[in-house]
């Protein structure tokens, strides 16, 4: 099996023929969730051993909200475009929670990434950053860039995603969320 040198980029043969080469990465899966049919789910008991957290998701959702063991947050902001894409908008939409996306349709597949940097650093208030897109080949398409603020320096140990502000609409079929730790 060939080994690629990270320093030079060159390939060479393994001295241990037949043995797999294990390269210690900095991006590790912590947990996954398939919440189809549920209105919310929680990643709990998040270890504090990583530097950052990242959630990657795809599926059918409607106005998903993020909360944590630090609560529902005290401030959030959004930058977004929708429809024909001819204009962009910004606002501070906190009403009932912090939106990961302002996603008006529950019938189309969307995808996104949520970052929480320094989630276990007890000297920093916690914030998130989320980029979300939904292309439907119709005027119902949208892209949203969101952020939010928890007024607490405590570590984040659990994260809950609720599908909509009323909590009454379930995630659609095929929805999946994956939580990663970044060293």
């Amino acid at each position: 099996m060939a080994i690629r040198s990270l320093k030079s980029g060159t390939f060479s043969r393994s001295g241990m023929v037949g043995n797999p080469v294990i390269m210690p990465g900095s991006y590790e899966s912590i947990a996954t969730a398939s919440p189809s049919g549920s209105t919310s789910f929680t990643f709990s008991s998040i270890p504090s051993t990583y530097s950052h957290l990242q959630i990657r998701y795809m599926g059918v959702s409607s106005y998903p909200l993020i909360s944590s063991n630090l609560g529902t947050g005290t401030k959030s902001h959004s930058l977004y475009g929708y429809g024909s894409g001819s204009a962009a908008y910004a606002w501070d939409p906190l009403a009932g929670g912090m939106y990961v996306a302002i996603d008006g349709s529950s019938g189309n597949v969307s995808s996104g990434i949520i970052d929480i940097f320094d989630y276990a650093n007890t000297s920093k208030n916690k914030t998130f950053m989320a980029l979300h897109g939904r292309e439907t080949n119709t005027s119902d398409s949208s892209i949203h860039f969101a952020s939010g603020f928890w007024n607490s320096t405590s570590a984040i140990t659990s994260i809950t995603i609720t599908n909509n502000v009323a909590g009454s609409v379930a995630f659609g079929t095929g929805t999946s969320f994956a939580l990663y730790g970044v060293n």
Binding site: K7, S8, G9, P24, Y27, A90, K124, N125, F128, F149
Partner: protein, 169 residues
Amino acid sequence: MALQLFKIADSTVESPVATVTFSSIPQGYTDLKLFISARGDAGAISRSVYVTFNGSSTSYADIYLQGDGSAASSGSNSGGGTKIYAGECTASTATSNTFGNQEMYIPNYTGSNNKSAATDAVAETNATTQYMSLVAGLWSNTAAITSITLVPSTGSFVAGSTFTLYGVL
């Protein structure tokens, strides 16, 4: 194949610094990814962060889409051709103990093409006004990127700011 990130280097500011540089970047990865959790000491709610490569101060361009909590705007060439705009970090009038989030992706950093960089950045704070930016940057230079330098528009990055550089395979 799953996303493979490998930490190349990280830096935690212990006392205010005007620049942060990653040098001698290994050339064996496909792309680079930079995570920034930073705060500036300038007297404002946020401060722009700029990036240069290989110590160069020429041939940069950028275009951005930005929200301030109430309106969206766009612009270009925020770095004046001498650097790439990388969004905003929080600064001294933002909520205490609150740092910005910035993520920069630099594809094909060793290739013989000109170098591009895409940045997502939020300077979240407990206030209505806050700056969030999506930025596309270009360095019209075909040299491989071997160093990255980050600077705030004025002042310094404060203690507790963290910068982490990853290689992507």
